[in-house]
Symmetry: C2
Subunit: 325 residues, 2 copies
């Protein structure tokens, strides 16, 4: 489950409007057959990706590796499994879905493959997808709930928050010595990751001073993605509208000295420095920091006292990517 | 090999005078049977730990899990393996040892178990332990060298450096906003980790100002370990000798304004802040930083320009532990 969590966190922020989910399939003697995650909306669920890999490990049948669509993988597994999953165990950070959405139900797939036991982290309270555990139990599969539940709930929280209200995360990039000035800080891989997140955000919030100084575009060009709407947080309402961000097709730009516009959005990224940080502590759910392993610059990020809890830390190319709350 | 590397880095700094080594045993279809590391001198090598776990996964024979001594595990494996390893593959960050030291030779164990294929990261240039690959090849085992060699060499470097001359690493603890002042920064788990490293260091270098201000003991009491000798780097030679570090049994304390004393030592930790960092860049091999996920304090670590390369990053309890060069 620990490994499934780590795998899932790699795609946190990228799966909206779906949850980030990780899945690990383990063989008869505890050997790891597959470790996968849900990567983006419309792509196979974590369980389907993991069962695809596990099937390959157990059969060496490469045909399944060429399938990309969830329903193709489902169908292939159901037609070819020959009961090879009967001694396997599945760990999933979230209760397997019970409804047929963009992909067939994972709970039904698991029961039909005859998996021995399923360990579940978080329960699914999503009205249309829940009750996967019940389906499994009715089919005679052993189900154990609440495994590393606190960690699985923290992984699921952004999704839950978008269902109930909205999820707001604050992103910044800094050097090891906490500076945020003096040119480009993050590696190309980190910047691509930010663009991939912008691609699935529906609103991006940024400070007026940054807009005036950096004249940013704030799109997702590094991943060929769409540009989210922008809220410029500023008391002074006049901006030079030749600044790139004002001229992105299909984008709305708001200028306001408050956050009431957030009410119309679900998945919101705030990009900023020390000043934006101070203004937004009351509305931010999670923090996402990219740390470059370097010293340089002059102006440090924050001097205010604060304790965070690390939710996940990983190395991405040259930098650290860390989620906190 | 990537997983074996991560596992090994957890014990970097703790295995002296042995190298940090990681090992992964993989089954017939690519499933992971074991992922282990060498944890301290005198304890089983990474390969032995991994083969012990893999044996258990393949047989469900719990007896082997109760064995702790390397020669006991060797003997048990040789008597009970029944050729179950014939379709397994072993990944090791370092060429398996070919000599009988505190533990029997790993290369001989691997050949006798009839492992199918061995992937090796770094070659072993240690005069007494090398030529493990040759032993494997002579026994008909497939050997592939140089897998992720650059990363494996970076893992092995501290050991190589102690053989050739001495390994010097600089350790500091900071908050996310780079401050190093204002009381305890790191979690209890991080401080225990530092004490475990002190326990295997033979010399600890610290600045005179820190000694005067913090009056530290600089021992390894959190892990019940031994206290290393201390070099206080200071132009001013007079100290209040009631300061705890001067009164640790069996310890030598040197006070000097240069680093010539380092010549008599092999595994050296420098603990310090910005000033010590600036004075030691020419003699330091690796950097080890503990980052607490918090804001606070006033004085930031370093303003000088510098680019590091991250060698490994991991979460330890509440903090980040990161090795860089």
């Amino acid at each position: 489950m620990r490994l499934a969590l780590e795998e899932a966190w790699k795609y946190q922020g990228l799966t909206y409007p779906n949850p980030a989910v990780g899945c690990c399939v383990v063989g008869e003697f505890g050997e790891i057959l597959a470790l996968e995650a849900h990567k983006k909306a419309g792509a196979p669920h974590a369980e389907v990706n993991a069962l695809q890999q596990a099937y390959y490990k157990l059969t060496a049948d490469e045909t399944i590796l060429h399938l990309e669509l969830s329903d193709e993988i489902h169908t292939y597994l159901l037609e070819h499994h020959k009961n090879i999953f009967q001694k396997t165990t599945l760990y999933t950070t979230l209760e397997p879905c019970a409804h047929v959405g963009k992909t067939p139900s994972c709970a039904s797939l698991i029961t039909q493959l005859g998996i021995h036991k399923v360990y579940v982290g978080s329960k699914d309270s999503n009205r249309v997808a829940k009750n996967g555990n019940t389906l499994l139990e009715q089919a005679g599969i052993l189900v154990e709930n609440g495994i590393l539940q606190e960690s699985c709930d923290a992984l699921l929280f952004p999704f839950q928050k978008t269902l109930e209200e909205r999820f707001v995360f604050f992103k910044w990039a800094q050097r090891l010595n906490a500076t945020t000035d003096d040119g480009i800080i993050s590696s190309q891989a980190s910047r691509k990751n930010v663009h991939a997140m912008r691609n699935v955000c529906d609103l991006l919030v940024i400070g007026g001073e940054t807009v005036r100084k950096d004249r940013p575009t704030l799109d997702a060009r590094l991943v060929g993605g769409k540009a989210p709407d922008v809220l410029i947080f500023s008391r002074q309402k006049e901006f030079d509208t030749t600044i790139a961000l004002f001229n992105v097709a299909g984008r709305k730009v708001f200028i306001a000295d408050n956050f009431s516009k957030l009410e119309n959005y679900k998945n919101i990224m705030i990009e900023g420095g020390a000043q934006m940080y101070a203004c937004t502590t009351e509305i931010v759910d999670y923090y996402l920091v990219y740390i470059a392993p370097s010293f340089g610059g002059k102006h440090a990020f924050a001097a205010v006292k604060r304790n965070f809890e690390i939710l996940n830390v990983a190395k991405e190319d040259k930098d650290i990517i860390m989620w906190m709350k």
